[in-house]
Amino acid sequence: MKAESVRMIFFKNWETSLKIPSMFFLMMSMAFIRDPALMPVLPVIALVLFVSSGLPLSLFLSRFRAPVLILLFVSVFLILFSGEEVLIRIGPVSLKSVGAILALNTCVRVLSVITVGIVMVNTTPLSGLSGKLKRMRIPHLLVDIGVMTGRYIMVIGEDYSRMKTARKLRGYIPGTNISRRFKVAIPTAATMLIRGFDQSERVFNAMCMRGYGSGISGKENGSFPIKTRRLDVLVSLAVVATSLFIIILEFTVETI
């Protein structure tokens, strides 16, 4: 338990402006890998990162629910239609051997890249993230939109919960009648959109009052200085070197 906390602390303290680019580069380089001979390398790298991060396995499993369906569709498609050589014939359906290898490759690559993504997102502290992203040359406009969207998802989400509670208190039971459910869903959605539109005007006025765009808010970014430790630089370099290594291997193995 103690060892797990120490590992997580290292990942959380890993300077964001070094961690995000290096891990994103690793994810990108993993996406480049197509050679079946290199496939076993990807889950090993992902596993090392995941175990080192000390994140719980339940988080890992919960994040795989979303891509499973699309992964299943692509795998079945590849097994049925990829290549000519038949692996197994089940009645009128023939499963292709090339397709099976490609499906396995796709599953391994998707799982590995997603694992690195899970580590990257779940070990990055939110405090000061916007300032650090701006320092990483991410356009200020996009960072501001992202930060404010994150804030207002919570606010509007709470509003929506209140609307649902009020609806229930007034005796509304969803039921199975389609037109009845449509009659409720439409005004709910439209009311939320109208309220959001008005709220955006209030937010605009508040932003103007606080001097947004006048350069004052830009100085606030200086309150999140980059604290680069030697270990952070070394780990980031190791991640980048690993990424380059697998890309070089991919092209070298292909040419042999």
Partner: protein, 212 residues
């Protein structure tokens, strides 16, 4: 309907990111000429992106299942040029909060969804030139329907056409058409949903339809 990380080749991901960056820059430039003020643009894009994110939690009954609206068409109608950066932000939060889509594929996914939103907006503007509630109802339906169908066609094309070789073109095209056909009921439901929401807004706050 979002492509997860690792599903498409790295070069396509890089091209997708470059395309999304270029389109974001273009949309922001276009929106800046409409909004005049960056603060107004940021507040509108962020608050409305959050609203759309939450509205997508409302489920539309589509027997035997219940689906959530995609809202590409409605976003295009109400946000115009800023629908693209708003969708990009929404996709980022979906990847962070629920694991839908991905970070390396965010460019491709935003091009599919955002591109569909912009095209749906174009269709809406084209069809509702003559005023009248019925015209706007039809334009809303077409935009909602087309928003889903275009997003499905773009996503399936990215997914199927970038799969490794050994699959013949005929199979690829039929699978894209098959996937699109499978989404027809969802697109119809989305079309009705969009049309009725647009009619509601037209009756209550018609100025919202003019801003974007």
């Amino acid at each position: 309907m979002h492509i997860p990380d690792g599903m498409v080749p790295g070069d396509i991901c890089v091209a997708g990111l470059a395309g999304a960056a270029a389109l974001t820059w273009f949309c922001v430039k276009k929106a800046q000429s409409t909004y005049k003020d960056t603060a107004r643009l940021v507040s509108r894009a962020s608050v409305m992106a959050a609203v759309f994110f939450v509205v997508s939690w409302i489920h539309i009954p589509l027997p035997p299942v219940s689906v959530h609206p995609v809202l590409a068409g409605l976003m295009g109608i109400l946000l115009g040029w800023i629908s693209f950066p708003a969708i990009l932000t929404g996709l980022f939060f979906q990847a962070v909060m629920f694991g839908h889509g991905g970070f390396t594929t965010i460019g491709i996914n935003s091009l599919s969804m955002g591109g569909a939103a912009l095209l749906a907006r174009g269709l809406f503007v084209l069809l509702q030139r003559k005023s009248g509630e019925r015209k706007i109802l039809v334009a809303g339906f077409v935009a909602g329907f087309a928003g889903v169908m275009m997003a499905v066609v773009f996503t399936c094309s990215f997914l199927i056409l970038t799969l490794p070789e050994y699959i013949n073109t005929k199979t690829e095209i039929s699978s894209i058409l098959g996937m699109s056909a499978a989404h027809l009921p969802l697109a119809l439901a989305e079309g009705v949903f969009t049309a009725l929401v647009v009619r509601f807004i037209l009756r209550v706050r018609p100025d919202m339809l003019l801003v974007a």
